[in-house]
Structures are given as C-alpha cells and as structure tokens.
C-alpha cells in the first residue's frame, strides 16, 4: 500500500549541524499522526522540508506518488499540502474574511485572479470555514485586532478553506488557555475526519485526547512509532522525553 506522504533517508544539515539524519517517515491516507519530540528534535524542520521551505541535503520526499523533493512552496501547496505555522502567520491588515478568501481553494495565477469575482458558493465556503472556527462574527475586523487564540483559529480556518489533502499543524495550541486548547483539539479532530493531518504538539492532554498513532523524533532521528500507549511504554522514549514528565 502506497503511503500519502513518503519521506526517505532525509538528511538536513545547517552550517555543519545535522538537524535531521537519514529520516524515514510516512503517513497513510486519512491518518491523524502526532509528532512528538523534545526541543530541537527536528519536528519543525521536518515540516519545513515537506513544504519546501528549505531544500534537503540528501533524501527524497514524495507525496501522492510524486517526487516533490526540491519543489518550491507554492507548487507543493498546489499539490495539496497545507501548513499551519507555529506562530500564526496571517495577513494582518486584511479583514478576517479576506484572509480566508485569499486562502480559498481555487485559481492562483495572476491573470486568473485578476478577473475573478467571488461566487456565491465561494462566499458560502468562506462563511462555512469561519463558522467552523467561530470567527464569523469578526469577519469584518482586520486580522491584527484578533487575540492570540483567535489568530490560531483564523489560520486554521484559512487552511480548511484551502482544502489540502495533507494538513501539517505545527503546535496549533501554543499560547492558548485550557478552554481554547480543548476547543482547538475538537476542531482538529473534526478536520481530521476528512483529511490527513500531521500534528506537532507538546501538550500531553491534547495528545491523549486525539492521538491514534504517534511518531517520536529525537536528535533528528525516528526514535519510536506506534500507538500512544506503545510509545509511552517504550523505555527509550521515557528516557529522553516522557521520563521527565511522569504520566498521571
């Protein structure tokens, strides 16, 4: 069975330091995978590599049966990989509505967007995405007036509207209240019903709530993979990561 995303022998070196070393990693279709690992394990780097922000030193990345190693980010996105940044990346001066409108799945070329008008269906899809994350009330407000949690949700709404096959979420609950985290976890679960999701998350409550399969990275290598229970009972994992924080 071919995986949706296949990372083979990925090595990344930045000014002499090896960030990722000969990493093999794959995700099946419609899977919700959680990526764990201590600081500096290479989680965000892996996401940067998959989305084409940097070019790998060695190895290959293929998505839906096509080799996407070294593709530019916009081409990789159009292939169907959406990315949520660790710190919300929004279009600050645009309204919440326009943020989602720009993200909406559809034409991306200069001369096709020049003459494109917003159809009723597109408009509905934008409202749907905004209502999904509960930001419809603020549709007219510029993004820079939102609170931190709302910013995270807006970026989620943007990605939902862009309808990727694979969604990479880099710590989407950073800086949220407990209530906000719970809500975000619910949103992610709902998103994952119809999509493949790779989630990087530190908060073990959330991981416990939604994780089915977990991959643990450590110093740029895959340390363990399996269900949460398997991983948590893995002695190597306990040593480097969970051992410091005893599960209740």
């Amino acid at each position: 069975m071919a995986s949706l995303l296949d990372v083979k022998g990925l090595t990344v070196k930045v000014s002499g330091y090896t960030i990722l070393e000969n990493l093999d990693f794959s995700i099946e279709e419609n899977e919700l995978r959680v990526l764990l690992g201590p600081n500096g394990a290479g989680k965000t780097t892996l996401i940067c590599m998959i989305t084409g922000q940097y070019k790998p030193y060695a190895g290959s990345i293929s998505f839906a049966g096509q080799d996407i190693t070294g593709w530019p980010p916009d081409a990789i996105f159009q292939k169907g990989i959406g990315r949520k940044f660790q710190v919300p990346n929004l279009f600050e001066t645009l309204s919440v509505f326009d943020n989602v409108m720009v993200s909406l799945k559809g034409r991306r070329k200069v001369f096709s967007t020049l003459f494109q008008t917003l159809s009723a269906e597109d408009s509905d899809r934008i409202w749907e995405a905004l209502e999904f994350v509960g930001l419809a009330d603020k549709a007219n407000e510029p993004a820079d007036t939102l609170s931190h949690g709302e910013r995270q949700w807006l970026e989620l709404a943007m990605l939902i509207a862009s309808d990727p096959k694979l969604l990479l979420l880099d710590e989407p609950t950073t800086g949220m209240s407990e209530e906000g985290k719970r809500r975000t976890a619910e949103l992610i679960e709902r998103i994952a019903r119809s999509r493949t999701v790779l989630l990087v998350e530190h908060d073990m409550h959330i991981v416990r709530q939604i994780a089915k399969r977990v991959t643990v990275l450590h110093q740029g290598q895959r340390l363990a993979e399996g269900t949460l229970a398997e991983v948590m009972n893995n002695p190597a994992v306990r040593e480097v990561y969970l051992g410091k924080r005893r599960p209740q």
Partner: protein, 397 residues
C-alpha cells in the same frame, strides 16, 4: 412561545451581523464628489484662469501624481519600495524628448546649419545615428516610450523577484539601477544630451493637452482602483502583509510582484512621456533617485495603499512648494524631509489613510452600537414577556 419568537429575533440579528461584508466602494462618495470637483477645477482652468505658469504647473503636477500613483501600486499595495522608479519615468520622457528634438531640428537648423539636435553637433556627430532614425516618427517614439520601460521592468523583475530579492535589498538595487542610468545618460552625451539634458524643443502646453493628461490620470486612477479591488489586488495586499504565508498558500509571489512592477512602470513611463512633451525639458535628474524619493514622500504624505493618496499628496506637497519655496528657498528641501519624518511617525497611513481609518472605525463602532441596541431591545422584550407572564402568578395566590 416567548422563547420561540425570541430565538427568531436572535437569529435574524445574528444573520444580519454575520453575513455582511463591508467593502470600500470602488469610488467612495467623498472621493467621487471631491474628485469631480477637482477634475472640474483643473479641466476648466483654461476658461477661467489666465496665468500661463499655473496652467503649466497643473499639467506637471498631474504627471507627477501619476508617477506617485505608480509608486503607490508597488510600495503601498505590494510592499516593494523602489527608489529607482524614476528610471521608468525618465526612459519614457527621454524617448519622447528625443523624438521631439529630432523633429524640431529639421525645421530649426543649428548655428552651423546642421539639421540635427544641437547636442549631437557639439559632440561631433554629423547625422542622426541609424538606431535613432525610427524615433523621428513620433508614433514609434510613443510606442517605445511605453513598451521599453515596461520590458525593462519585466527584466528587472525576473532578475530580482524570482531570486527572492525584496525589501531593503530591492530598494538598494533599484537605487543602483537609477544611478547607472544617470551615469549612462551623462556619459553618452552625444545621444542623450548629457549633463544638460534635452532642451529647446518647444513644448506642447495647451488646454487640449491638459485635458489629455487629465483623462489619462483619471483612467489610470480607475484602473488602479479596479486592480486593487480585484482578487489579485487582495493577493497583492496579502503579499505585502506576509509573503511567506502567501507563498505557502500556493501563490507564486514572484509572478505577482513582477506583474505589479510592470503595471507600475508602464504608468510611470506614460507619466514621463507626457511630462517630456508638456514641460519641454528632460534631464538626467528626471531619472535619478532624488526624484524617486520625492515621489515616495508625496505618496507617503497622501497615504500609501490608497490610490487617492498619491494625488492628494502630490498636489499638496508640490502646491506648497510652489507657494513656499520662493519664501523659504533652500530651506524647502529640509522642510519636505521633516514633513516625511513627521508623516511616517505620526500618520503612517498618510492623510487619506488616516481619514479612511477614521471612517472604518466609525462604521465599526456604529455597527457595534446598532448590534448592542438590537440586543438591548431583544432583552428588554424578553424581560417584558417574563414579567408579564410572572405577574399573574403573583396575583394568583
């Protein structure tokens, strides 16, 4: 029953507040009224005005305003600060000036009887060089004045934006581009008039030409408005706000930058072409960084990212210069620099931006008040109902 009708009310309130999107109209009413007034004021000047100098200033200011508009498109909307936009203005101007000068020389021979521009004769040329012959035809010159700068902008865009060069680096490179062209013009004086520029070819100041410039300004204004109101315009703004996010949403950021840079350069070239014919004098200063920076200041004062702003800013700053530079002389430049610093610190959106922001805030506030009012009414009705239904119960025992 009460709760059922209450929820209907709540729903209508929710729907109304939820599913409306405020968009600035293509031409907001104050702009339409003010714009028509100004157009009438400028367009009718030949009928009520007698001062030939003011007439010449009006055409000049309009060309400057179009130039500032071209800077607003790339800087205000896409976040590309070009300190060399005058390159495209100047190229457009030089093509027209050369053509006019070549034709002028045919009917006005030099002191030595040559039917070539005086600067060519001073530099030892005896006939118009072959590669310049096509420019004898004014129509060819107009086409060149519009197309060549746009193609140069395309080349420049491909070289820089495709390599992810923007921001400060782009500003520095455009600055260098501008200086290179200046050096080139001064060096090859046999073909360009060198340090003196191209002069004495008569100008074309006339009411008709003023109306033509005015019409072009209006067309460019509307075109820029349409562009920035399109989906592509929203994408440009999103690139200005966060190019990384735009790229990771599938937009080829470089292509958008190249596109808007070409549109902007086309406008600048058109402004330069009209400027050369109107003023009757083109020099290397018209391609220099100082001129670009001046236009950046006009745009900043008027309001970057507003389309209306460049027109307001240009007429205000250049108008003030007209009245004050006689009195203040050398202090004028310092004053303009001070004005720029003041605007950047106190009104980062410029005059028009500040007004628009105030309008938007007022609208949001009014909307919130209206929403609160409706909610208040709703709760008031709920309370009335509950009191009404509560009262008989009290009386019953």
């Amino acid at each position: 029953m009460a709760s059922a009708s209450g929820s209907v009310l709540a729903k209508t309130i929710a729907n109304r507040s939820k599913r409306t999107i405020y968009r600035t109209p293509l031409i907001p009413r104050p702009v339409l009224v003010g714009g028509l007034f100004v157009i009438a004021l400028i367009g009718a000047y030949p009928y009520y005005g007698t001062n030939a100098y003011v007439l010449s200033l009006l055409g000049k200011f309009l060309c400057y305003a179009i130039f500032a508009l071209s800077i607003d498109l790339i800087w205000g909307f896409t976040g590309i600060l070009s300190l060399g936009q005058a390159v495209y203005f100047g190229l457009g101007a030089y093509f027209i000036a050369l053509s006019l000068k070549l034709n002028y020389a045919l009917t006005h021979p030099t002191r030595y009887g040559g039917k070539i521009p005086d600067f060519m004769e001073w530099n030892g040329l005896t006939s118009v060089p072959h590669f310049m012959q096509p420019l004898m035809n004014l129509k060819t010159a107009v086409v060149c004045a519009l197309i060549v700068p746009t193609l140069l902008a395309l080349l420049f865009g491909v070289i820089t934006f495709k390599r992810h060069i923007y921001g400060v680096y782009c500003a520095v490179i455009t600055l260098a581009e501008s200086l290179i062209l200046q050096e080139f013009i001064i060096e090859y004086q046999a073909y360009t008039g060198g340090f003196n520029g191209i002069t004495d070819y008569s100008n074309y100041v006339s009411p008709r030409f003023l109306w033509f410039i005015l019409a072009v300004a209006i067309i460019f204004f509307l075109g820029a408005r349409l562009l920035t109101h399109s989906k592509a315009g929203t994408v440009l703004k999103s690139i200005r706000d966060n190019d990384l996010r735009a790229e990771f949403l599938g937009y080829n950021v470089a292509n958008y930058r190249i596109f808007v840079f070409c549109v902007s350069s086309f406008m600048a070239a058109a402004a330069g072409a009209m400027y050369a014919a109107w003023v009757g004098l083109v020099s290397f200063l018209d391609t220099g960084p100082v001129f670009s920076i001046e236009a950046v200041i006009w745009t900043a004062v008027g309001g970057r990212g507003t389309i209306v702003g460049p027109f307001v800013g240009t007429f205000l700053v250049k108008g003030a210069e007209f009245f004050l530079s006689g009195v203040l002389a050398e202090w004028w430049q310092i004053l303009v620099g001070g004005l720029f610093i003041f605007v950047v610190l106190a009104m980062p959106d410029g005059i028009v931006g500040a007004v628009a922001r105030w309008g938007a805030r007022r609208r949001l506030a009014l909307d919130n008040i209206a929403r609160k009012d409706e909610l208040k009414k709703y709760y008031f009705q709920l309370r009335l109902r509950s009191e009404r239904s509560a009262q008989p119960e009290k009386e019953a025992p």
